[in-house]
Amino acid sequence: MTQSTKVINQQRRKGARLLHRFRADWMLYAMLIPGLVYVILFHYIPMYGVTYAFREFSAVKGLGDWVGLSVFQKLFAKNAFQRAFSNNILISVLKLVFGFPFPIILSLMINEIRSSKAKKLVQTAVVLPNFISWFIITGLMFALFNVTSGAIPGIIRRLNPEATIVNITSDKNSIRALVVASYVWQAAGMGTVVYLAAITGIDEQLYEAAMIDGAGKWKQMWHITLASLRPTIIVLFIFRVGGVMNAGFDQIYAMSNPLVISKIDIIDTYVYRIGIEQAKFSEATAAGLAKSVIGLALVLTTNFIAKKVDPDSGIM
């Protein structure tokens, strides 16, 4: 048998194995189809749209000539974009720093609740805010902090009738803190779901062995729970870093007003303003593309660092 015949036979066997596997598990493969269709339809086909960033485009007249990087040059030169870009980075980093560890801490705390009924109640309570629209949350905040009729200023006035009350929803100095705090409040509960599931999978014998060795609650949490959660934390961190440029359009759009927009205008709200309201689709695409490229670079960098620190970590 010649070498080439051997290769052909090997390939045939491989093909036959694949076909056999497909026939055996066709139902599992069929379940992939909706997901694939979704990704192709909503993530890959629209990628053609990135060409708008390199071409003239008018909503009325359609696509025009290729213009190279001139759209990017024009966009990056604009003060409004520069402001949105720096706000975007700052708000994203703040959300990452304060928002990422919070679900971990919350999961560890929930895990320590002994009563199963109380545990379920707390779990449900912390997850619920995730299902409330940002427009509702913002409405609640406006109502709570309204200087005239809000509950919080009302309490402050009761405690100190002479107090100078500032509405933090329209105060430049406090708006970023409010954005981050409300984000943590809304998203932390949902973030605990994965961690609590991972904690459930930790072998109970590890805790028993640690107790025999004299480890207290704190040491068990540190050396067993957190150590076991490490791969999950790293994977979620990489995903989170990948989405770090998504500073939260809904939230920022709902919370914006003329007094605070200079502090919280982000790339997405800027893109909405120039893209949808002003029909400058090329500039909006260029801004979105720049944001995505930075996100990709951050994912790759984080993944690379994670691999260096722990070869079993990372997503690829």
Binding site: S58, A59, V60, N167, S170, N257, P258, L259, E277
Partner: protein, 497 residues
């Protein structure tokens, strides 16, 4: 058995689809997109009545004013425009006409839109896209009807022993009394002098006009300086004087300090709930459409007993720029399958008395009945006495094509208080530079310049820093970020008009 059931289900689905196709072919659907802040039901009595009259299905989507530009831009870009739609800026209007995306109505006017033809006559060519040689592509609105009135609660004035203010000092005194002297007599400190919000420039029109400043919009508002330059109102010689006055009101808490987060509707609600004593808005709302249904306190039958109008230093609000609102137009999609039918429906809805009665009052015998048709007196029936229910069933919401025609039901049935207030206001309005032709600088820098103005206006009122310094900073930003080019283009375009 399973195969049989599957086959049956598939056939049922296919038959349903065929039925839908057959229905779609039998009854054409006319889709209309317009701006407005009422949200009627998708299938309401007015739409059904329109459909029955024209033998088709009529679908009208009413988009909130603030979101309209975004919605229209998306539909234009995705090539999914409705049959009939509103265009609210001259740039888009001109581009669409030039790109051949608007239907030429000229050949069809005689047959399908005789009322439109009779109404406009040769005036129709005032639009930047209509021309006797090329065609008629847009129906613009006669907008020179409603101006803002600065309304004031006369019962509050009487209770506090005050007179209608005639200048800015007297206004401060009245606003102070409205805020701190318990004008509603409930023993609580729960009122403000005036309702103001950055949600709408209309609320500020009369106050700013007292300083000769025409704040027609928050989107980069313009004025004309003495040397003829058309520029941002930030460069108006009295701009900082006006800001200082507003700061004085703000610091004394004579209007709600949360003015940047209040919506326009919340400002109206403050008037309806007796929480403010003044509101700058068209009296067609204050003393006509909201009266008496929206007010939550007992009101006299005659609105003139409750509301008076304020003219500060003899000035009113801002004049509408021209008899015809040239930038606010209705057009028909060139790709429409039934452009003539769309034109006929537009003609009926907005240019005939019968169509206006239907879209404004609703279905006769269901929503309302005439008391004296000649005099324009009617009464609403049953549950439709409630404004919310009335509008949810399609009445009122589709009546305005962005402006008002002679057939307009609202103007025919307007009460005397409102008519008198409007007529008086027209005598005192100040002028502002309306530029008809689209500016290149507006396309390029308009969004950024608008944002700068909105930020500057709010910040200057509340800042605890040096006002002059903050002002200089914003003005410099305006000039640096395209304002200089905007100013040059606007001045040249206005001079050429």
């Amino acid at each position: 058995m399973k195969k049989f059931v599957s086959l049956l289900l598939t056939l049922t689905l296919l038959l349903g689809l065929c039925g839908a196709i057959a229905t779609a072919e039998a009854v054409p659907t006319i889709t209309i997109l317009m701006a407005g802040d009422n949200t009627p039901a998708e299938d309401d009595s007015v739409l059904r009545a329109l459909g029955e009259k024209f033998g088709c299905k009529v679908e009208i989507q009413v988009i909130p004013e603030a979101d309209y530009a975004g919605k229209l831009n998306s539909l234009i870009a995705s090539n999914t425009l409705p049959d009939l739609f509103q265009i609210r800026n001259s740039v888009t209007l001109k581009e669409m006409a030039e790109a051949g995306r608007l239907y030429n109505m000229a050949p069809a006017l005689d047959e399908y839109a005789p009322d439109i033809k009779a109404y406009y006559g040769d005036s129709i060519y005032k639009s930047i896209v209509n021309d006797p040689d090329t065609g008629i592509y847009a129906l613009f609105s006669e907008a020179g009807l409603y101006v803002n009135n600065l309304g004031i609660r006369k019962d509050w004035l009487a209770k506090l022993g005050k007179e209608i203010p005639t200048n800015l000092d007297e206004l401060y005194d009245v606003l102070n009394a409205f805020t701190y002297d318990d004008p509603d007599g409930n023993g609580q400190n729960d009122t403000y002098g005036i309702a103001l919000s950055t949600a709408s420039s209309e609320l500020w029109e009369n106050l700013m006009a007292a300083f000769d400043i025409p704040i027609k919009t928050f989107d980069n508002p313009l004025c004309q300086l003495e040397d003829g330059t058309v520029t941002t109102i930030m460069k108006h010689p009295r701009f900082l004087e006006a800001i200082e006055y507003l700061r004085k009101l703000y610091q004394a808490r004579l209007f709600d300090p949360d003015f940047t987060t209040l919506t326009l509707m919340q400002c109206f609600e403050k008037l309806w709930n007796s929480q403010v004593g003044m509101l700058g808005f068209r009296f067609v709302g204050t003393t006509n459409n909201w009266y008496p249904g929206r007010y939550t306190f007992e009101v006299p039958a005659d609105p003139s007993e409750l509301f008076g109008t304020v003219y500060l230093d003899g000035k009113g609000s801002i004049a509408k720029y021209a008899r015809y609102d040239l930038a606010n137009a209705f057009a028909i999609n060139a790709a429409s399958a039934n452009p003539e039918l769309a034109l006929a429906i537009g003609n009926y809805m907005w240019y005939t008395e019968e169509g206006q009665n239907l879209t404004y009052l609703g279905v006769e015998g269901v929503h309302y009945e005439w008391v004296d048709k000649e005099a324009g007196v009617y009464q609403r029936l049953g549950e439709f006495k409630d404004d919310v229910v009335h509008r949810a069933d399609g009445a009122f919401a589709y009546a305005s094509a962005g402006g008002y025609t002679k057939a307009n039901a609202e103007t025919r049935m307007m009460n005397k208080t409102t008519q008198d207030a409007q007529a008086a206001e027209w005598e005192k309005v100040i002028d502002w530079p309306f530029i008809i032709e689209p500016l290149e600088a507006d396309v390029e820098y308009g969004a950024d310049l608008s944002m700068i103005f909105k930020e500057a206006f709010a910040e200057l009122i509340v800042t605890t820093g040096d006002v002059q310094e903050v002002y200089n900073e914003y003005l410099q930003r305006w000039l640096d970020e395209g304002g200089e080019q905007y100013e040059a283009e606007a001045t040249a375009a206005y001079a050429a008009q």
